[in-house]
């Protein structure tokens, strides 16, 4: 008989306990149960059937080499306590791999945000000072990432610009996730005319060319980074509405939702406390990926005067303005591009770790 190696204390203890209690309990409980079950002949036969089937299953288990042995099973008695086998049931605390990853990811994000917020005070050069004599210099000891067409140090500009880019993108993604997610959840949960109405509205938004809408918004608001965020927020929420709606629809029919209804909870409580935490994973991951997309989208609106105005060293603006120089002076676009890449990577790692933390099966593994 092959047995899987006892890889945790839990299993070893369980088996040990079972062995000690086996003999004493088995005979006693069987007898008592049998006497209690002599209500009707059929009942007795029913019990017999149970035991017979148990033995067949013993044989099968034996063949398959499961963790539980014959002896283990025979000590499982009907109608009594099975405290032995469940002795080790319960939470496993302590540092699992998932929790370690989460801590590392959180530390990364915190370091990144600290650099973004406070880095501006520590930059080697003034990010706004033009030095035309040193324009378009390749990376060197004096300028680690090179200089741009106005002679400004790119490392300093990238660090200074982080706060504009990262926060604009984070605010935008947070808004569309929360707003779109909320609408989608309500649509998925309630269904009916509200669902149809909101979904048709989101269809209109999706069908409208985003650029046209952005132009309309630009006409109403004056330029600037926050106006770009507002313009994009208006057109990007349908994606999350649909995503969350789909997720809610698929979990709405799960048994535990019915169970929650059965326990008398109100609809909105079920939605917030039971459904949303269960579907948070895909939403978080999608949002993290969108952080990078939104940086580029913001830059794409710059021709309308939306987005950061000069001389703000916003990364998206730096990349789109440096686009023409990529063949001759590639570092001008590589510096903000790399910064973007780092930002997106850090947030994606964090989002993955968050998603794993949400699912206790993975978290406690």
């Amino acid at each position: 008989m092959s047995r899987k190696p006892a890889s945790s204390k839990r299993t070893t203890n369980r088996l040990a306990n079972r062995h000690t209690n086996r003999s004493s309990n088995r005979a006693a409980s069987r007898t008592s149960n049998r006497s209690a079950a002599r209500k009707s002949s059929y009942a007795q036969e029913y019990q017999e059937l149970n035991f017979r089937q148990q033995e067949y299953q013993h044989a099968e288990y034996k063949q398959s080499g499961s963790l539980l042995t014959t002896d283990d099973l025979s000590s499982l008695h009907v109608g009594g306590r099975d405290s032995e086998q469940d002795k080790q049931v319960g939470p496993v605390y302590g540092m699992t791999k998932t929790k370690r990853h989460f801590i590392v990811a959180s530390v990364l994000v915190i370091i990144f945000l600290l650099v973004v917020i406070f880095g501006g005070a520590l930059v080697p050069y003034n990010p706004y000072a033009q030095d035309l004599m040193n324009a378009r210099q390749a990376p060197s000891a004096a300028h680690l990432l090179g200089t741009d067409q106005f002679g400004r140090d790119l490392l300093s500009r990238v660090i200074e610009g982080g706060k504009f880019t990262v926060f604009a993108s984070l605010i935008l993604v947070a808004f569309i996730t929360l707003f779109g997610g909320l609408l989608g959840a309500i649509c998925g949960w309630r269904g009916g005319w509200l669902d149809t109405l909101i979904m048709r509205i989101s269809d209109v938004f999706l069908a409208f060319p985003g650029m046209v809408f952005a132009i309309a918004v630009a006409g109403v608001l004056t330029g600037g980074l926050m106006s770009a965020v507002i313009a994009l927020a208006c057109i990007s929420w349908p994606k999350y509405a649909r995503l969350v709606r789909g997720l809610v629809l698929s979990t709405k029919n799960m048994a535990y939702v019915d169970a929650a209804r059965m326990s008398g909870k109100k609809g909105i409580t079920i939605l917030m406390c039971d459904i949303m935490p269960n579907i948070a994973g895909p939403i978080i991951v999608t949002a993290a990926i969108d952080i990078g997309h939104m940086i580029i989208e913001i830059a794409g609106l710059s021709f309308l005067g939306l987005g950061a105005q000069v001389p703000t060293p916003e990364w998206g603006a730096m990349m789109s303005n440096g686009r023409s120089l990529i063949q001759l002076y590639p570092w001008i676009i590589l510096a903000p591009g790399t910064a973007c890449f780092i930002a997106v990577a850090v947030f994606n790692i964090f989002a993955d770790a968050c998603r794993d933390m949400f699912d206790p099966k993975i978290r406690e593994a």
Binding site: A135, F150, I215, A218, G219, S302, G305, V310, P311
Partner: protein, 528 residues
Amino acid sequence: MGAKRGEHIVRVRTKTIGIIFVAAIAVLLLVLVGCASSGSNARSSANSFTYGTTSTWSTENEDHGFNPHNTYCGWTTVRLGVGETLFKFDDDMQIQPWIAQDYTFTDDTTAVITIKDNVCFSNGKKVDGQAVKECLDDLVANHDRAPSDLKIQSIDADGQQVTIHLAEPNPALMYYLSDPYGTIVDMDSECDEHTCVGTGPYVVQSTSGDTVELAKNENYWDGDVHVDHITVRNISDGDTLTMALQNGDIDAAYGIPYLDRALFDNNSGYHISQTATSRVFECAFNYHHSVMQDQNVRRAICMSLSSEEFVDILLDGYGETAVGPFPDTFSFAADPSDAAPYDPDGARQLLEQDGYTDSDGDGYLDKDGQTLEITWLTYPSRQELPQLAEYAQSKLKDVGIKVDVNNTADHRNFVRSDDFDVYASAIVSAPQGDPQYYFTTQYLDSSSYDAGHYSNPQVTADIETLSTTFDTQERSDLARQIQQEVLADNGYYYASFLQMAIVSNNRVSGLEAHPCDYYELTADLRVN
């Protein structure tokens, strides 16, 4: 036995699905590759040529058509060698005979033009006085700008002669007739967005959204045409144009952005024909705003910016320095000494004498509790303009003036609502080689393009005089005087001129850049 058969079925099914997947991917890849390569069909055969341009045949510039009597469509007709005007400009911006032989002014309001005897349209029809009259009548009846430029009252035709009766004296008449809207086309044939019949070396074969196909004009009156077929592609993005030229999708390109020029300079695979144009990057000051009404502020701004620094360093030398609105290739260009000198320290002193100090220590000057802050309006479609804005912002900050840049494609709305202090734009100042056009459109308060509402009674009077002066030397002198007065007012600041280049690969010869920007495809074009 059943198990084996079941297993077999499953295996077959798995294989089938796998094969379908792989086949689908392979097909898609083929389609993608096929579509990509069909775009670059310009591995041209011996006598055909592909030309890329950012500027012609574009809906943005209102020249998406061939009827010269419709807004700017005449530019397409002339640039693509489909039509010709009565006179043309040489490299010194002097007019020379083209379809016409010569002209005279019999009196102040009457001009007689003699048409050459051997000119015919591409359909073989001879060009005589009657044909020219019909064309010009249609121009005056339909065009938006031409009637007020030309001031034509009526036209008579007699054989090869055309007599034009003017409503008032117009010494610049022949210059205006050389504008592309003066292209002579056959009024008896179709003349619309898709085609027209002109006298040029090429005829329109077909058009589509962004492409024009041209063929050789077998009936060209002025010599041999050496290229049988030309494809013209409008590529609105300068960087895309550069890459198209680099990988051979096009043989020559007009509108390579100045930042990409270095890729083709000193590159043995290409040659460049470049010229200074009269497209000037100018800054208009808004006289409706109190901060700009102070001449000391305007002068300080002019003294803080250096055209040489801007051109040599920021534009990498791809531009021409500016003093006034006309490049120094023109005889009536402004005198350098008339402009404010580049002197940032002097600018600062000027402002301090004017009562500005940095009382709150924020690095910017202020007076009466108000920071000296100006809005700089501009647009991104000309690469030089955003550079100029950022350059100015930094230089003016050093002097103590705060600049907020508004760089938007929607600039016209801001101009209309007077929502700016400085408006930087690019404008062709002497499209007909004559200064009068610029003065009347920029220096008069009634002008359509006087964004800053500049106005000076002396200047207004001088422009009046100019409109009735016929002697070219006198016109030059008067023009210089007008510019001197405007520069003394610091009514405008002129940053630089656009250096226009046509880049061709080594298959191509005869494609030359012209200062007036009208002539591109001509009979001189040859491909190997």
